[in-house]
Symmetry: D2
């Protein structure tokens, strides 16, 4: 599977009065990382939105384990990859490492959605394009 990797420094405003990362921030970063995985596969969400019927990949399920707290100023690395890809949904795993140690591990199930021709404001599940599946699987590389 293709692995996308992001680094970031924990910022002051990411932390709560206990001086550790406020947990919803992790979910914000993981959402960004899922976007980053598509981009690493050669299909930025923005390009998909502007050029195809794609409307997004809403989260349908998530699960996370918080193993060690992260603090202001820590440098962390997040590795993201698909772990299972089905017709119109897929599973993603994020591993956040802090000082080389696995500190948060999260799993997401997301559904690929396109425009509903009957109601353009509604989201409708759609088949994930073969090209994207092949790239997420690492069977093909972008470019």
């Amino acid at each position: 599977m293709l692995v996308a990797r992001r680094e970031r420094t924990i910022e002051w405003g990411d932390c709560d009065p206990a001086k550790i990362v406020y947990n919803p921030r992790f979910f914000d970063w993981f959402d960004n990382c899922t976007g980053g995985l598509l981009e690493a596969a050669g299909f930025a969400k923005r390009w998909l939105l502007e050029n195809t019927d794609f409307t997004g990949i809403p989260l349908v399920e998530s699960r996370a384990r918080f193993l060690k707290p992260s603090r202001y100023g820590d440098r962390v690395v997040i590795e993201t990859q698909a772990t299972d890809i089905r017709r119109s949904s897929f599973d993603i795993r994020h591993q956040l490492f802090n000082g080389g140690e696995l500190s948060v591990e999260a799993f997401e199930t997301r559904v690929w959605t396109g425009r509903d021709p009957k109601n353009p404001d509604r989201l409708k599940s759609a088949a994930i394009p073969d090209e994207i599946v092949a790239r997420l699987k690492g069977e093909k590389t972008p470019g």
Copy 2:
């Protein structure tokens, strides 16, 4: 078990370009609701912080199912209760209802922490006070 209940309207800034709630926002609200549950039990986190060795209840595990999207202007209700209480950790369930329908269901495991006398900046698990356990279980009511 004691059930804490909160209502809120989905705000513009809670939503993403797909016009549905951006998922980390739910985790923000659920974190608030967990604080609200302690408060409903008669022990606001602020009071605990100022008057006891309590330092917080960091999340160690979470799980969520996103059943139906919520949109700008929707009025939602979140019901929060403990589902299992152990010596120094406990499980919480949040159910978010939108128009009466269960739309998000989330489960958290949190650990009760106190000051580590050897290092005041570190968190250390501690026994949940009996009085709080009794109130979360609904065996005693505040006041």
Copy 3:
């Protein structure tokens, strides 16, 4: 002028390691309050979006004074009103009171935007409907 009023409790996750509200949170609440002002005027942004050409009221200028910090558990009141209304832009003032004392005061200039017929994804300034102007001014009441 019509005054919209909101109350909220400062939540744990609103605060940073200095144990005071992390300043971007205020801007989030003020944005919500601006939406609340339109709603108090009888024109919820959601209704405007679904029934008119309205696309939003993007911020073009803001100014804020942070007079006293707010802390976890504080109960605050925000009062919001228009202070000047022009053809397609208007000024808003938010006053956040904590324990009865003015703690944050913010001023916004926003522009009323509609769909650009040449490019539906772009925003274009538009005249604020007379009915809304009259209600923001308190010259007419909803209903």
Copy 4:
């Protein structure tokens, strides 16, 4: 004056239903950038917190102009520098460039705070250390 520079890509979750950056996000980034300026000056806030009486640099005033909207996928650059440094407060300017064009310009006044010996939970203004002033002014370089 020393200029700190950060780049970032606008993420999906940074944007609202109008498909432009939700304005409080800018204030989050600017707060991060102010921390980055201190770090560029050789004094990371974390180091200051752990090794000196420093408790933070709360915002006392801010002002921003939003000249052009930024959208999902845009690559932006933020340049941050002090514009005036007084005994215990200082002014900061952030300029956010999108595609080379100035898109947001923000000004902050912040106060340097230290521990109040009478009440460790309260913040008290303190003189900005000479060494830091010299570095923010670009009169001395770190290391």
